[in-house]
Every structure is written in structure tokens, then in C-alpha cells.
């Protein structure tokens, strides 16, 4: 009841091609996250799905119906904006009911839907307040509630957590994840934050410069990045890229994640000097200037006593080393 199909969608603003042909299938009940650096076109794609922006060419199908030219309200979607976009002059209740009233929904049903969704989001105490009297997290919950009462086929989230502080972001992320489990609704979520993408998504769509780089489950992207871009984008700290020639490899670039490097102060493949160490408690990030591989980042679990000037030996986990050809594509 809430599938989405995007067929060869292109979008240009004047001479600038923002989307260069996007094809995507989202199954009913799936949680799909668009992730990518700013300017990659992920928000534009979401706005085209919502109908807030017209595609230059291509088609959008929701539930098998072509909605390319339908206005947003006829697409069966509901959108949650980064800036909440609540109606500032209306109470929480009126914010949630405005769309339903406009559609001529009977009052009893409006009341019942508002009661259900405000209970789900614990918004009952605030129903009579105006947005100005709410905190950022509460406002975002109201925005989600406003989407919820419309019972859409498709939920669209445009960076909904970006305006919240770190602690609230984790809580709201959890709430959105729970919401998805409970409603089993199809959700499309845009973010530039790979942690949000990894934690929420059933499938992640990595976008870069108007193209889809890779689509896959979070662990698929982590374990089998299709190219250099995805390999560098997913994972934190970023994957180390080493010039293949330096290591005597045929591949153009060799990639190894910071957490897949073993460290010893006696012996190992790459000898190096510690430039800096970040002690995070649960992790220790060591920046090592090696003779053979250049500057690499190593992520060690737990505490590890080292500091600038210390000599360490690093050994990459051969089973988890990635090789990329001259075009940046993953090899074998």
C-alpha cells in the first residue's frame, strides 16, 4: 500500500544538472534513507517525490500510480521538514487537524486520529499550546504528528534531526525507528549524517553529484562498498586510502578501514610515528605517519596508551582490505 518507484528522474535548474537520471524502487513498508554530501541532490529528489518540485523529465509512481504531475496533497504523502514548518498561529491540535479539515474529514474521525497519534508521540499535554511555547524536540514531534494523522502511504523526512541538539537527536532517532516498527509504513528519509542513515535504514541510497552511487542495506555498504566514494562516505573515521603503487599492488587504490588495522609496538607491516591520538574512552583514534603507506588513521577499541612521537607498527587485516581500480570501482 505504499510502494514508490522512480523512473529516470532528471532535474536541472537552468544549466545546472542536479539529478542526472535516478532510478529507484522502494518496497512497501521499507525505510529508505538518502544520504550524501550537501549538494548531491538528495533533498531535490525528495522534493520531487513530494511534488514540491517538478522533475525535468522522468516519472514518479506511488503505489503503482503515476503521480508525476499530481499536486503534493493528491499523492498520499506527508512530509516532515528540517525546520519543522509548523503553522505558528495555530495550536498543536490545529496544526495536526488543518489538513484533515481541509479534506473534509468528519470531526469525530479527526479527534480520534489526533488522540491516537498524540498518544503515540506523547503530545497530549501540549495540544492546546502554540509552536512558540514548545521546545525544538517537541516541535519536531508535532511535525511528525501532523504527518501521522494524515495516514499517508509514504512518509517523507527531510533532515528532520538536523536542528536538534545531539542528545535530542538520539532520542528522536529512536522514536522515528520505533514509529516505523509500529506503523510498518513506507518511509523515505534524507540526511547527510551517515550515523542516522546506518541506524535507521533498511536500505541506504548513497547519492553523489546527482547520481546514485550504491543502494544497499547498511552492512552491505559497509562491507562491500561499490566504489571509492561509498567506501569513503560510509564509516567513521573515514576509510584510509593508500596509493596502490606504494604497496606494490596492481590496484590503483587500496582501502582499509581504521578499525581493521592491528597495532603493535614490536613488529608489523607498516612502521610509523604517532602524530596525534584522540582518546574517546570507548575508542582511541591514532594518526600514524607510516613510511610505507603515508598518514593513516587507526581506530582502536578501548583505551590505548600512546602519544605523539611514539613508534608503532600497523598491520592491515588482509581479509578486510578493499581494492579499487583507476575509475574508483571496487575490484573483485
Amino acid at each position: 500500500m505504499g510502494s514508490l518507484k522512480i523512473e529516470n528522474v532528471k532535474k536541472s535548474f537552468g544549466p545546472v544538472d542536479v539529478l542526472k537520471g535516478i532510478d529507484l524502487d522502494v518496497k512497501d513498508g521499507e525505510f529508505v534513507v538518502f544520504v550524501g554530501p550537501s549538494g548531491c541532490g538528495k533533498s531535490t529528489l525528495l522534493r520531487i517525490i513530494a511534488g514540491l518540485e517538478d522533475a525535468t523529465s522522468g516519472d514518479v509512481l506511488i503505489d503503482g500510480q503515476r503521480v508525476t504531475n499530481a499536486p503534493p496533497s493528491k499523492r498520499g504523502i506527508a512530509m516532515v521538514f528540517q525546520t519543522y514548518a509548523l503553522y505558528p498561529h495555530l495550536t498543536v491540535r490545529d496544526n495536526m487537524s488543518l489538513g484533515l479539515k481541509q479534506a473534509g474529514t468528519p470531526t469525530a474521525e479527526i479527534d480520534q486520529r489526533i488522540a491516537a497519534s498524540s498518544a503515540m508521540l506523547s503530545l497530549e499535554p501540549y495540544l492546546k499550546r502554540r509552536p512558540a511555547e514548545l521546545s525544538g524536540g517537541q516541535r519536531q514531534r508535532v511535525a511528525i504528528g501532523r504527518a501521522l494523522v494524515r495516514e499517508p502511504k509514504l512518509f517523507l523526512f527531510d533532515e528532520p534531526l538536523s536542528n536538534l541538539d545531539a542528545a535530542l537527536r538520539v532520542n528522536t532517532r529512536l522514536e522515528i525507528a520505533q514509529l516505523h516498527h509500529r506503523l510498518k509504513a513506507t518511509m523515505v528519509y534524507v540526511t547527510h549524517d551517515q550515523v542516522e542513515a546506518m541506524t535507521l535504514a533498511d536500505r541506504i541510497v548513497v547519492l553523489n553529484a546527482g547520481r546514485i552511487e550504491q543502494v544497499g542495506a547498511p552492512m552491505e555498504l559497509y562491507n562491500k562498498p561499490a566504489n571509492l566514494f561509498v567506501a569513503g562516505f560510509i564509516g567513521s573515521p573515514k576509510m584510509n586510502f593508500i596509493d596502490g603503487a606504494r604497496l606494490g599492488e596492481t590496484a590503483k587504490t587500496v582501502g582499509v578501514r581504521p578499525e581493521h588495522i592491528l597495532v603493535s609496538d614490536k613488529a608489523g607491516a607498516w612502521k610509523g610515528t604517532v602524530i596525534h591520538a584522540e582518546h574517546l574512552g570507548a575508542d582511541t583514534n591514532v594518526f600514524l605517519e607510516t613510511e610505507k603507506a603515508g598518514l593513516i588513521t587507526i581506530r582502536l577499541f578501548g583505551e590505548y596508551q600512546t602519544g605523539p612521537g611514539a613508534t608503532l607498527y600497523a598491520t592491515p587485516d588482509a581479509a578486510r582490505t578493499y581494492r579499487f581500480d583507476a575509475d574508483g570501482k571496487a575490484m573483485g
Binding site: 512530509m79 514548518a85 509548523l86 503553522y87 498561529h89 489538513g99 481541509q102
Partner: protein, 313 residues
């Protein structure tokens, strides 16, 4: 800073002279051009000229203004006309201003900068030009209005609007509306631009579009701007003088049909034709204008402004 020096500085807080210094220029200028003349006028209204000497007369001038039918008839006529002048502005100028702003803020409109400028230009024209231009346009003898109406076969509708007692005031009010409609348009336009795009997009997703979007989302959000415009219109209209003077002369004809408080004050204060100027009675009328505007502004500030919510986006 050490604990000791902190306490020390709290004991002897230095006199903040810079506040007075920075306020002084504005305060001096404002006093010289606004406060002194105002009190001078109020003072003048309490005196009478007896044998070329100013004699304190208490509220006698006000008693004359309201008690003597020769004065009170003119005063009530001018106040009534002024009120009609204001009503026309509120009913025509401001709704049209809002409508134009709504059209201008529509992203689908092309050449909106051109329209904006074109509509705003009359506002920067001199009232003399506006008055004379419209007098010429509407003149039954050499005006273009009868000919233009003739072109579309509606010549029978033509009336010498400025010359008929029953139409002259309304016609002049509409000319003033034409001249000043750019101001509410600009203010509302600015208020509409300050509504975030996302709020409008959220409304689009909610199916609140077109007219109901304007009515339910935009209008409530621009109400504070409409309040400001109403009070500006009120003050401007009750201080108006120039357009009537340039179009109809100080006698505000025909037969005082377009006489408003400003022209009434002018004739009384400076005299006109056979009427001899009377600064004391003029000041009395000016004081009444001040009180009327003061009352209107207070009413607005205490009754309406308080109920208007301002929204932070």
C-alpha cells in the same frame, strides 16, 4: 578580575554619561521640531486675541468650536468627511494593497519587479502633480475620462465626479487610494516574504492551497503588518490636507463637500479669501486633530495591538 576589585566596581558604578550624550542629538532635534511646536499649539489654543494682545481664555475657544453653530457645523462636516475619507482607505486601499502583495509574492508571476515599481511610483509623485493630473483626467471639458468612456461606449456613465457634492469626496478618496496603495502593498509584501517557504510547502502537502492557503495561513501571519498599516492610514488620513488643497483649493468645494480637518484648519489658521486668519481658533482645531489622532492611536495600541500575536519562525 579578583574578588576585591569586583566588589569595588559594584560599589561605585560609574555614571553612564555616554547614554545621555548619544541620546542628546536626537532628543534635541525631536524637541525642537515636534515637542515645542505641539505644546506651542496647545498653548495657543488656550488664548484669545483681544485688542492685539494674547489673553488667556481657558477653554473658551473649544466652547466656541463646539457651541457656536457657525464653527461646529464646519467642524462636524470636516470630521464626518475625514471619517469617510478614512473608511474609503480602509475598505479600498488596504484590501487592494493586500491583494497586490499576494499576487506579487506568487512565484509564478513574471515581471513582478516591474509591477511593484509601477504601482509604487504614484506614491513618490508630488501631491500637486497627482491633484492636477486627476483634475485634468476627470475634467468634463478637456479631460480624457469622458473620451475614454466614450471609446468603450460608456459615456453615459460619465459624471463630473469632482464637481458634484455627492461624489467629490469619494472621488478624491479614490485618487488618494490610487496614489498611496503602494505603501500597504510594500509592507504586506515584505511581511509575506518573511513567511518561510517550508510553512507554505507544508500547507501544500496538507492540501491547503490557493485561496484557503491565503485565508488560513498567510493572512493570520501578516495580521501584525495589517495592524501597522491601519494605524498608519488612520494617522495619515486625519492629517491629510495636500491632495484636497491641490485638487479643490482651500475652500474644499463644491460647497465644502471635500472639506477635511486639514483644510478646515488651514482656512481658519491662515485665512482664505474673505475669511480672516485666526491663529487661536486654528490652534484649537489643530489641538482637536491631535486629540482625535491620539485617541485613535491609543485605542489601537491598547485594544488591538495587544491581541495581535507576532510570530517567530
Amino acid at each position: 578580575m579578583s574578588q576585591q576589585s569586583l566588589e569595588h566596581s559594584q560599589d561605585r558604578r560609574p555614571t553612564r554619561w555616554h547614554i545621555a550624550v548619544f541620546l542628546a542629538p536626537a532628543l534635541l532635534v525631536y524637541t525642537a521640531v515636534m515637542i515645542l511646536p505641539l505644546f506651542g499649539t496647545l498653548q495657543l489654543s488656550l488664548f484669545r486675541n483681544v485688542d492685539n494682545a494674547q489673553v488667556f481664555a481657558g477653554f473658551d475657544n473649544f466652547r466656541t468650536l463646539f457651541g457656536d453653530p457657525r464653527w461646529s457645523d464646519s467642524f462636524w462636516n470636516a470630521l464626518g468627511n475625514n471619517t469617510w475619507f478614512f473608511i474609503i482607505h480602509m475598505l479600498v486601499q488596504n484590501p487592494i494593497g493586500i491583494l497586490l502583495a499576494a499576487l506579487l509574492s506568487s512565484p509564478k508571476l513574471r515581471f513582478s519587479a516591474f509591477y511593484r515599481t509601477a504601482i509604487f511610483i504614484p506614491t513618490i509623485l508630488s501631491f500637486v502633480i497627482v491633484g492636477f493630473a486627476w483634475k485634468l483626467i476627470l475634467s468634463p471639458l478637456w479631460g480624457v475620462a469622458p473620451n475614454l468612456l466614450d471609446l468603450v461606449g460608456l459615456k453615459s456613465l460619465f459624471v463630473p465626479w469632482l464637481g458634484k457634492e455627492e461624489y467629490a469626496l469619494t472621488a478624491l478618496s479614490l485618487i488618494s487610494v490610487w496614489q498611496f496603495v503602494g505603501i500597504p502593498m510594500m509592507l504586506i509584501y515584505a511581511a509575506m516574504l518573511s513567511i518561510p517557504d517550508e510553512v507554505i510547502e507544508a500547507a501544500e502537502c496538507d492540501g491547503v492551497t490557493g485561496f484557503s492557503q491565503f485565508w488560513k495561513i498567510k493572512l493570520p501571519l501578516i495580521l501584525p503588518a495589517i495592524g501597522i498599516i491601519s494605524i498608519l492610514t488612520f494617522v495619515g488620513n486625519f492629517n491629510a490636507f495636500d491632495l484636497i488643497y491641490s485638487a479643490q483649493g482651500a475652500l474644499a468645494g463644491p460647497n465644502y463637500a471635500t472639506d477635511i480637518l486639514g483644510t478646515f484648519l488651514y482656512r481658519t489658521f491662515f485665512g482664505f479669501q474673505l475669511q480672516i486668519g485666526d491663529p487661536n481658533m486654528g490652534a484649537t482645531i489643530a489641538s482637536m486633530m491631535f486629540f482625535i489622532i491620539l485617541a485613535g492611536v491609543c485605542l489601537y495600541l491598547f485594544l488591538i495591538q495587544r491581541r495581535l500575536r507576532r510570530y517567530q519562525f
